[in-house]
């Protein structure tokens, strides 16, 4: 039952508790102009009884004046609240609606379809987790459908529901629906959207919106609302790195200095080591003050709480800085150069050399456009070389900030990986951007940097099966790690010998060897150690790509860094041995055999 969740006489405290714990889903509508987005949201609210009587009366009167439905209820007018929207029968800016069912709380952003207002659609999308893409069953997937899906995907939306609308106008035709479904899902797959489903609906009649449709018995899937109530969202990951951009420094008295901000990712506890970025200064968390005048302290703060942190020492830290977890694979990137995907939103084009203000976290800094790397053709998703970006273009640029900034790739952390560009003269918000990486040529790359996909990996002429037949081995990696002088290198070469004698082909990557060449620019700080292992793991990945067994001997003291290496190389292809276990060559060989990584393949 999805309708009114409170019944007279019910215990209010219990009800409040249930309401307060409902999981929130933020949804947007998108798609081409007039495909029925606003009508659909109006229908959803109407059929769940969420329109107050006085609003319904006003709606009836408005429908007679502005309606596009011949005097019948025009449900788009529930959300199209601006005068200009009602006069023109289109949506111009996002309408935010709030409603709850017994199973879930929703925030719905009804977005405009018109290309001219793409910026407003992107505004809505940046706040949402799920997109409902409306598609008029008569016209099918259009350029604007694709543009919106592309923007949604770039902003990290993983769930897209295609509501194939106006099924009443195509005789509730299943073949037509299936055709659109296939085309849309194909496009979403290319965008890397993991969950893309299609539903047939009629926003006008309500078929398939709140209730399943009687007119389309051939469709066995859920109604839209059922689907929205059931979508499963990933919780915050345990491994999310701690980030808190500092908003204000609170200094009410001589003996209190607190850094106020909202945790955007991960969590932090009293006593934790943190770094103040971008300088990288170390400190420990001394107190986590709850944002009440009189409330006590917290032991732990996590996203998305707003808190005040006190540190254990006097450090230089102010608005614009980020308090971040300490070290290892989850260090923030620091640099002046940023490569980001942008949606450009002002009339004047973006060109190389242009100077703008760039907002990352709570820092606003002047930045210059170094180059446009490519522009995206939304119909084909092809990258085209470009010198500039025009209004509503999507593309990738490289920026250079006036001062070093701390950031993360957007994929890793939105709060510190999203940027906004501001026109310096008009103050207009000119672009929204998602950071991919820093300067790829800069020292100290990062586990989370993404390759610039201008380079494609070459394909070898020798197949994995041929290599396997010759060497009787599957590519894998053995990491021997532990403190210096525990026999790692010696054992690595002993293992190579043992495998060689059995007819296999192994390669040793040694920490010392790496440092004498490939990593000679690195020191021994945690960030540098992380980078050294990352490079080794990348080399191992290349070698494994060509069928080799890779034996690595490294100090590799950081757990999280080793886990990143394991994830990169594939957990089922890694054997990690710590010095404290002893490097028993025979046992390692046996383990390789028992895991099926060496020896003749018994059967496929």
């Amino acid at each position: 039952m999805t309708l009114p969740t409170f019944t007279a006489g019910e215990d209010l405290r219990g009800w409040l508790d249930r309401y307060d714990r409902l999981q929130l889903l933020r949804v947007l509508t998108c798609g081409n102009v007039d495909d029925g987005k606003s009508t659909l949201i109006g229908r959803l609210l109407h059929d769940t009884g969420r329109i107050y009587e006085d609003h319904l009366k006003a709606l009836e009167a408005d429908s007679r004046v502005h309606g596009t439905t011949g005097g019948g209820l025009d449900l788009a007018l529930v959300v199209d609240g601006l005068k200009a929207e009602r006069e023109q029968g289109i949506t111009i800016d996002v309408a935010w609606r709030y409603f709850t069912t017994a199973r879930r709380a929703f925030i719905i952003a009804d977005c405009p379809g018109h290309e001219q207002y793409t910026r407003n659609m992107a505004t809505g999308a940046s706040h949402c987790q799920l997109a409902i893409s409306l598609i008029d069953a008569r016209s099918g997937v259009t350029t604007q459908t694709r543009r919106h899906a592309t923007i949604a995907a770039m902003l990290g939306i993983r769930h897209v529901v295609a509501a194939v609308n106006k099924m009443d106008l195509v005789g509730w035709s299943e073949p037509r629906f299936r055709e659109i479904e296939a085309e849309f899902q194909g496009f979403c797959a290319r965008l890397g959207i993991e969950h893309a489903v299609a539903l047939p609906v009629s926003a006008l009649t309500g078929e398939g919106v709140v209730r399943r449709s009687g007119a389309m018995p051939w469709f066995s899937g859920p109604a839209l609302l059922e689907l929205l109530e059931g979508v499963e969202l990933p919780g915050p990951g345990d491994a999310d790195p701690f980030r808190m951009p500092v908003q204000v420094v609170l200094r009410p008295s001589l003996d209190f200095r607190g850094f106020a901000g909202q945790v955007t990712s991960g969590d932090v506890r009293v006593g934790d080591r943190v770094r103040i970025m971008p300088r990288g200064t170390e400190a420990r968390v001394a107190r986590i003050v709850r944002p009440d005048a009189f409330g006590g302290d917290l032991e732990r703060a996590h996203a998305p709480q707003s808190v005040v942190l006190c540190l254990d020492r006097e450090v230089d830290c102010s608005r614009g800085d980020v308090i971040a977890c300490f070290g290892g694979a989850s260090d923030m990137r620091v640099g002046r150069r940023i490569v980001a995907d942008l949606v450009w939103m002002v009339d004047a084009p973006l060109v190389a050399g242009q100077s703008l203000l760039c907002r990352v976290g709570t820092r606003i800094t002047p930045a210059r456009v170094l180059r446009v790397i490519h522009r995206l053709k939304v119909d084909t998703l092809a990258h085209e070389a470009a010198e500039s970006m025009a209004l509503n273009d999507i593309g990738r640029v490289e920026l250079e900030c006036e001062e070093p900034v701390a950031f993360d790739p957007y994929r890793v952390s939105r709060g510190t990986g999203a940027i906004v560009l501001i026109d310096r003269l008009s103050n207009a918000t000119a672009a929204a951007g998602m950071i991919r990486t820093g300067d790829p040529s800069e020292r100290g790359a990062h586990w989370d940097d993404q390759a610039l996909d201008t380079v494609s990996s070459p394909v070898s002429g020798v197949s994995a099966a041929e290599r396997d037949a010759r060497w009787s081995q599957r590519p894998c990696c053995i990491l021997l790690h532990g403190p210096p002088n525990t026999g790692k290198t010696e054992s690595a070469f002993a293992l190579e010998r043992a495998l060689w004698d059995l007819g296999h082909d192994a390669v040793v990557l040694d920490g010392q060897g790496m440092r004498s060449g490939l990593s000679k620019d690195l020191g021994f700080e945690s960030g540098d150690r992380s980078e050294n292992l990352r490079r080794a793991a990348e080399v191992a990945r290349l070698l494994m790509g060509q069928g080799r067994i890779v034996i690595m001997s490294f100090v590799a003291p950081q757990d999280d860094v080793r886990e990143r290496a394991r994830a990169l190389l594939g957990p089922d292809r890694c054997i990690f041995v710590h010095a404290s276990e002893g490097f028993d060559i025979a046992r390692i060989v046996m383990e390789l055999a028992s895991r099926g990584l060496i020896g003749r393949r018994t059967s496929a």
């Binding site: 009114p4 409170f6 007279a8 209010l12 409040l16 309401y19 307060d20 929130l24 107050y52 009167a61 609240g81 601006l82 005068k83 200009a84 009602r86 111009i92 800016d93 996002v94 309408a95 935010w96 609606r97 709030y98 992107a122 505004t123 940046s126 706040h127 969202l233 919780g235 915050p236 908003q247 204000v248 609170l250 200094r251 009410p252 209190f256 106020a260 909202q262 003050v289 944002p291 009440d292 005048a293 996590h302 996203a303 998305p304 709480q305 707003s306 005040v308 608005r319 939103m345 203000l357 907002r359 709570t362 939105r414 709060g415 940027i419 906004v420 501001i422 207009a428 918000t429 929204a432």
Partner: protein
């Protein structure tokens, strides 16, 4: 419940973030205090946002001189209790011209004594950011508004040309004379506001609770006779009825509802079962469809 925070905790965290952004990004912010339930929550959140420090901006009330007497008493008591830097502004010229909701009607009164008064106060104080307690669920044009909502040098809102607003990366940049309206409660509903007040036990004006009050029935609306400035029309008589208010404003323009809800719990229960919106009792919203947008374009909150 996302991320281990409850719905209200998440809304609270967002509002505090917005308030801190405002304090950090503007030179002269001011918090608009209208004494009602939304202002009550807004004020509480602002105090939290800067605790253990003090509120880093003044609090402004636009007094039309037609507010319920209880509201003014509550305002002054609140300011004293919390040690607020309270500033009160009234449009003196309007007052001198004798503008009143009774003789001039709701439209002129609202325009002169609220909208113009607000513009006067903001310009005189050279405030570059005005924080208000408006919510998107209140009204259809509010549902369209940004959290950081730009105003030109004439305090006008351009609903067709709003700045895009991504994530919580607000663009606070304004030129001299221009300003921002900031709405930390944008994503709160009427229910959220009441639940928050109830959960935290925040004091509110007693007019929200049902009591026997002197009212007259006028065009189907119950108007409370708060003082002797309300002339009775032929046939009207003052009766004592058990009423309360869902929203508070100028008393001749605020419709009361008959109710037995004399505790906060009962108010919330009534609201959960209500079939009409909170603004139904607001006479100023009914001048014409789209009138809120018109007023907002003129600079109204």
């Amino acid at each position: 419940m996302a991320h281990g925070l409850t719905h209200l905790e998440e809304l609270e965290a967002e509002a505090i973030h917005i308030l801190r952004e405002t304090a950090a990004s503007f030179e002269r912010p001011v918090l608009m205090y209208s004494i009602g339930k939304d202002s009550t929550v807004l004020l509480e959140l602002a105090l939290k946002a800067f605790a253990p420090g003090r509120l880093p901006f003044p609090v402004l009330h636009i007094d039309t001189t037609w507010k319920f007497r209880e509201m003014i008493a509550f305002r002054d008591a609140t300011a004293a209790r919390l040690g607020l830097d309270l500033r009160v502004h009234t449009n003196r010229e309007g007052l001198a011209q004798g503008i009143s909701p009774i003789t001039h009607g709701s439209k002129v009164h609202t325009d002169v004594m609220k909208t113009v008064a607000l513009r006067q106060a903001l310009s005189a104080g050279r405030y570059d950011a005005a924080i208000g307690g408006a919510r998107r669920d209140e009204e259809k044009s509010r549902a369209k508004e940004r959290i950081f909502s730009f105003r030109d040098a004439n305090h006008r809102w351009d609903p067709k040309g709003q700045r895009p607003e991504f994530w919580s990366l607000y663009n606070p940049r304004v030129h001299p004379g221009e300003s921002m309206r900031v709405f930390p409660l944008s994503n709160w509903t009427e229910l959220d506001v009441w639940l928050y007040i109830w959960k935290l036990g925040l004091p509110v004006v007693d007019l929200y609770l049902a009591r026997e009050r002197p009212v007259v029935e006028r065009n189907g609306t119950l108007i409370m006779v708060d003082d002797d400035r309300l002339p009775l029309k032929p046939g009207e008589r003052i009766e004592r009825r058990r009423v309360r208010f869902r929203t508070l404003g100028c008393y001749p323009l605020s419709g009361a509802i008959e109710s037995d809800a004399d505790t906060l719990e009962k108010v919330i229960e009534e609201m959960l079962l209500a079939r009409t919106s909170e603004r139904q009792g607001r006479l100023i919203d009914h001048d014409q469809s789209g009138s809120m947008e018109e007023k907002k374009r003129e600079g109204y909150f």
